[in-house]
Symmetry: C3
Subunit: 328 residues, 3 copies
């Protein structure tokens, strides 16, 4: 596998400083890159690392261009991270890694499902009756798409994902649970990615909606009737309970958890492992998890934590005895 760096610049633009006929056989991080490999520098503050790399050619931004071209061949791009992403795509296309259009013979497609001829349905997928799969969308092996669910164009669904399982809805009945049939479906917009073994439940009455450009990592749970806005991204192990309404351009770190029936506006960023228990109506960065410590310190602090309310009262009493709160 190899590419001429001249061919890369012809395909993707950017300014080539160096030998267009240099051939690279791999993409590699700066630290390990060899003379026949192409690397990249995203953060110009790390330009000092250029001195130590053996990479044959480096993708850099304008800020790193001078330093990079002093040491050897480079491609100067306005946004080197984005350029690098496009090189990975070019690489995959050039080396035959693009999934073939069509339905694998071991996939099961039920009556009334409509699959765009340019879509690729992997081995052992299941597509329920009435489901629709858009142009250019790729389902890796062993994806389940339930009846009447819709996936837009250019989607990518990893193995084991379950789109359109039944939402979790019951009415209590004297200590037992009576099932509420889930009569809605799931609708994914265009350019949506869904990770391995991630689950998106169908709505109870209306549809669960994932808008264009949303990216979901592995092992994520999206409850019934959720609505996730455009270009929001969630890392692995996130849970979103039913009927949450999440805005556009949000991010949720790994194992973040969002309770049901909440609203989160656009441009909200939730840290990993943080639990959202109330609506967030102001863009920003929110966090809530117990900081890790050596086990002994944690045990002492966790025990004291159980009395923090009482401790506050004790401080208040001290302040009162000394004549009211200080002004410090």
């Amino acid at each position: 596998m190899s590419l001429r760096i001249g061919a890369i610049v012809e395909a993707l633009g950017g300014e080539l400083r160096g030998d267009a006929d240099r051939v690279v056989t791999r993409l590699a991080p700066l630290e390990s890159a060899q003379p026949d490999e192409l690397s990249f520098l995203v953060d110009p503050r790390l330009a000092h690392r250029l001195a130590d790399t053996h990479a044959g050619c480096i993708i850099v931004g304008p800020a790193g261009a001078a330093a990079a071209s002093r040491r050897g061949d480079c491609i100067v791009a306005d946004n080197p991270h984005l350029y690098f992403a496009r090189v990975t795509q070019l690489w995959r296309r050039a080396h035959g890694g693009t999934p073939r259009a069509g339905v694998h013979p071991t996939a099961v497609v039920e009556e009334g499902a409509r699959i765009d001829p340019s879509a690729s349905i992997g081995a052992q997928c299941f597509i329920g009756r009435g489901a629709r799969i858009g142009a250019g969308t790729v389902l890796k092996p062993r994806v389940t798409v339930g009846e009447d669910c819709v996936i837009g164009a250019r989607g990518l669904i990893q193995s084991g994902a379950v789109i359109g399982g039944d939402g979790f809805g019951f009415a209590p009945d004297e200590g037992r649970w009576e099932r509420i049939e889930q009569l809605g479906a799931v609708r994914l917009g265009d350019d949506v990615e869904v990770g391995a073994n991630t689950c998106i439940d169908r709505g109870a009455l209306q549809d669960t909606v994932i808008e264009d450009g949303v990216k979901l990592d592995n092992l994520i749970q999206i409850g019934h009737n959720c609505h996730i806005g455009k270009h929001t991204a969630m890392a692995g192990c996130v849970g979103v309970a039913g009927s949450a309404r999440i805005g556009a351009h949000c991010t949720v770190g790994g194992a973040g958890m969002i309770l049901g029936h909440l609203t989160i506006v656009d441009h909200v960023h939730i840290s990993s492992a943080s639990i959202v228990t109330r609506s967030i109506l102001k863009p920003g960065h929110y966090t809530g998890f117990f900081p890790i410590d050596d086990n002994g310190s944690w045990e002492k602090n966790a025990a004291a934590l159980k009395h923090i309310h009482a401790l506050r009262d004790r401080v208040r009493a001290l302040e009162k005895r000394l004549g009211g709160p200080s002004l410090a």
Copy 2:
């Protein structure tokens, strides 16, 4: 798809106030319901919402009946939430959404497995040797039921669920781990539901037991040798470590985590994202997670938290200097 509201009341009971020949074409929430749609009001404190809905007919309890019948057609039921659940079931049956009995031709059923003729085994399911599937139970596509595992009657297992994977058991051996073969199985009672990609491990020596009426949402992990009592419900992403014994009529919120070898009595309710590290022997509602905050405030408080033990000592010292703890 449509139903006469007279037909609904004939099938499910309740008191119809209005036109039995009205036809509804969908079920919908109050906010969005249209004149050809059936809606419902569960909480009588929200009766003021009746004024704004365009629903053609509304399911209400006795407390909301007067207000609802003033505005138009309604069905009065003792428990409107339960009634609504039964309408969703009626809707599904009336519109052909009930899975067909029998084994899909792409399912793999090993020797010695016994499947009730009224059960429905979806595409690409795997049923191991000696497993048993009860009457009326539905396995959606791509469910795995390991050898010798038992599922009772009227169960519903969503896609990707793995019932009877090996429990996680090893004996340490000079820095290596020696596998303990898992010789038990999994037994699910009647009316059990298991969510998409949920895993229930087989026991090491004896069986993992899930009693009648238990409801498990998606992406839940149930370790080997657990015992979960009747009608307990768990939301998505919950983890239960091995040999936990959980009572009947409990609930566990999303991403709750229950450590191994614990006992939890009946009627215990664990909040989302809370970690149960000791047995709970008293019914009630238990919680433990770090509250979310804007990231800056969290950082300050998390840093202070690491010194809370020392802070308590400082308050104690202040109290001593002022002549013993105050009585405030």
Copy 3:
């Protein structure tokens, strides 16, 4: 199913005290064991339990040997836990529970994949092109192994596991996400176990590496480019974000979460539900989660927690008014 205890000792060593012709029909815990069952005592501090068991024979260590042989037949082994593990393996082999070598006819194996003839590939597995499966490795039904991924010898992969899904990598582009193709693969060493529905993502440029003897429980997420050292074990629902480097002989409790690009040295033990947000460069035991409490107490303490930073300032002010921090 039954075994002579003489045959067990012939196969596994240990000292038999009692009747070699005694036949046991099951393995069972001490509490429930019957006279035709074999049990074991791992912790010699629990030797008093020997008085109450009905087990026909007991595996004990040297410390428990005298007490055990007074009450009846026993097998004395240096490490009774390890001995018990080997008895479970013997039991499985003796009773025909070992998976058959070969590829199940419903598995899909792509061109160029190489599967050792002694490996066992279960029903409905998918093995991508160029993948390699080592000697004696067992894939339970419905496992996915992506293209070019490698699994060593004697591995055990549970149902629903996805090895070699695409890592979660995007470059931001004016509010949209541009996919970074994941050009690396996944390499598992020998004796690796992977739990049900666990996901191990392929690397972006280089491979994700899981070294020999690693044990991963169910529903675990391992991000792209991670490196996990030998004999490290992780319990269910753990998440490891991309590019984390975890040492050998570590353990991570259930639902532990390790953020990306961190380093954890050998012999680090992370408690359940603890979030690792910084590198851990010293062996030891680390913990961080909010302790559970009854909901009312938690609410009061959680509210006070939001002011802990201010509380510290108030204590400081009190100390100042009293003439500097006390020496208590």
